[in-house]
Each structure stands twice: as C-alpha cells, then as structure tokens.
Symmetry: C2
Subunit: 227 residues, 2 copies
C-alpha cells in the first residue's frame, strides 16, 4: 500500500482517487484551492459530479493543496486537464517530485477552438516528454490516457479485460510500479512501448478515440492489440 | 467484378493488385514511368520485392501510366507514398477521377528528418481531406491505412479476422463499394467513422502503429475496438 497523491478533481481524478482508496492506498487529492473545489456542487456539463458533490460520498479520501498532497507521496497521479498539467506540477514543487513516479494520464487537448479539440503538442513532441523535460528528476510514466476514466480503473467491464493498455517512460523502476498498479485495477495486457517519447503515439491516438466516441455513442470502449 | 486501377508500385500497391486480381477483378497498376518501374529488380531496403521482380510473377496484372490506368477504372486504389499521393492523382487527371471512388490507403509520413517519420499533415487537417478538397468531384474513402500491406488483404491471418478496420468518406455509395471490397478481403468489423475528416484520427494513429511495430518487432498486428 502506498501514499498516493492524485492531482486533479475532475472525472479522471475522482475515478482514480476512489479506486485507489478502495484498493487500500492512502490517497490525497491535490487541488489548487481546497475550499473552492469542495464548494463546487452539482454536475458538470458532461454529467459528471462536481468535486464537492463527489467528495460528500468519498470523505475517506484526503484533500489538500498541490504541495501538501505531493509532500510525502510515493506516487503522483497526474489527472489534470492537459493544458493544466505543467502548472500543477510546478505548484506541487519540483523538489518534492524528485525521484517520485508521476503517472501521467493527461492529454494535451486544446478546446480553445471548440469541438473537436486539437492537440496542443503533437508530432515531434508530446506532453509526456515535455513534462519529463521540465521535471528531469521525476520519473514520468505515460499510461491510461487512451481510455475513459471508468475503463481506466475497471478494465474488466469490457470483454472481461481482454484489451490493451500502453505504458511509456524512461525509468524501469517507475514503470514496474505503474505496471503493478495497472494490474491491481485489472489490466492484463500492459504493453511497454519504451521510453517517454512513445507518449507521442498514445497522445496522437486521441483524435481516433474522439471519432470512435462519436461513432459508438459511448466512451465505454478500448482497443486490443491483436498480434 | 470491377475495373480497378492501383496507383503505386511499392509493397502496398503489390499487395492490393495481387489480391484484387486473385479475387477476379480486372486490375491495372498505374505508375509514373512504366519502363522504369518494370526495370527495377531485386529487393528494396525493407526486404520487399522491387516492382520488376514482383511483376515477373504477376504478369496477369496490367501496368500502365497513371492516366491510362484510371481512364476507365470504376475504382482507384491510392497506394502511393503519402508525399506522392496528390501528384499521382494530378497525373492521373482530375477529369478521369470525376465520380470515381478513390480508396485512399496513403499516410502523410515525412521521412525527411530520418526515423521515426513525422506526419506532414496533422491535427486540424489530414491527407484524406486534402485530397478530397483538391479533387472535389472524386469520392475519397480513407481506409486500410492503419495496417500493414499483408494484413490489409489477408486480415484472417490475425485472430481469425477478429479485429477492426476503419473507413471515412463523404459519399455513402463510395463507402458501400469500399465496404464490399473490404469484406471480400475477409474484414468483418468495418467501422464507418463518418465523413472524410475522420481521416485525421486514422492517420494520427500512425505514430502509435510505428511504436507498436518497434515493440512487437513485427508488422503483423492490428487493433480491435473492444466495446
């Protein structure tokens, strides 16, 4: 069991924090402004609970500022919107992140020109690489960014878990830590694509994910690498 | 059975031309310079046969210039390198392509900065859209660009064909034509992602495909959309 900080209070942060607590970890959700996050009640436009409403049912999870959440965390889950990822880690503090595994779930989606979003970082760079470069002493592992929040933490809901999740990162120890976490969620086919530059591949899959979402009319899907 | 022009003499063109002939279609391979293509013997650096060597075993397929190949074709398979796609259609002639279905398999891979290639068109545009815009009277259908040449035409070799191929295009009749062709190859899960702008999704999957190729050490793989 680990001390885990989950940065981000949205759908992905809620799913991860809830599941990690359920699995017995000591979970703290990190947010920019604790009082403001707890005060947000009701539902988001996407139909997910606002953080305050979610927290009313999950008060066994701690909530803290970004620096307090990561201070003694053994693993940090980066579950912010992609455009906020760098700022969240900056707030948390580079010193606290030194030697720490960062499970980066975020995608560099840019909604500023409406739907569908484009990718703010693309092609010859990726958000995963950008974060690893900005926080060189942390161990960034890109994973889980290719599926919906609910599929991330309950993969067995689809085809009994017979589908694939990807992993990319420069540190073998950190990847082993993430692999064990993914296995505890129920993932069985965990494909290590190599160093963090493979995040280009999994992030650039997002436009296909978005079209599949539109076609299938549900985010409850995943891909299996058939070989 | 249809009159089909396959533009491109590389691995993809060879695979498509051979398989379409085998299925009883009247196939003509279109190339910029017939004599030069037929004179290329031996193997490419990737280990595929050069066109002249391939043709020695497939002389039942016709070879012609681009305009001659498409002149009375009912369907055109665009199997050139992505950087050459526009020029190939230009050479073939916009007038001949009017009302014709173009099965666009090409990917906008840019190898000019070495490996891995980046995408020359990306994010808010795609090669499929670019071609549809440049040849507005043709019916561009993007498909098959997410798998290796051999998997394209023999999908049953993997998991008995239990994996997914994508399709995108603006014309329903052209998509129906392509769907029937894909079914004749053995594809069973053909996902229509909507209009040609969905080509952004399938083209931007290429960086992930390239990483999977590196990790699996074989191009004999595909993805199944599990839902």
């Amino acid at each position: 069991m680990m001390k885990i900080a989950v940065l981000g209070t949205g759908m992905v942060g809620q799913a991860l924090a809830g599941r990690l607590h359920e699995l017995g970890h000591d979970v703290t959700v990190g947010t920019r402004d604790v009082a403001a996050s707890l005060a947000r009640m009701g539902q988001t436009p996407m139909g997910a609970p606002e953080f305050g409403s979610w927290y009313a049912d999950h008060s066994e999870v701690a909530v803290a500022t970004m620096p307090d959440a990561v201070a003694d965390a053994e693993l940090v889950v980066l579950a912010t919107a992609g455009v906020a990822s760098h700022a969240a880690l900056e707030l948390a503090g580079a010193a606290s992140l030194s030697g720490t595994t960062i499970l980066d779930i975020s995608n560099p989606l840019d909604f500023s020109n409406g739907m569908p979003p484009s990718l703010a970082i693309v092609n010859t760079d990726s958000l995963g690489e950008h974060l690893q470069h900005a926080f060189p002493d942390a161990h960034v592992v890109k994973a889980l960014n290719t599926v919906n929040a609910n599929v991330m933490v309950h993969p067995a809901q689809l085809a009994g878990g017979d589908h694939t999740i990807f992993m990319a990162g420069n540190d073998e120890g950190a990847k082993q830590q993430v692999r064990e976490l993914l296995e505890s969620f129920g993932w069985r086919d965990i494909l290590d694509l190599g160093d963090i530059s493979a995040a280009r591949g999994t992030e650039m899959y997002l436009p296909l994910w978005l079209r599949l979402f539109g076609t299938l009319q549900t985010p409850a899907f995943s891909i299996k690498v058939v070989r």
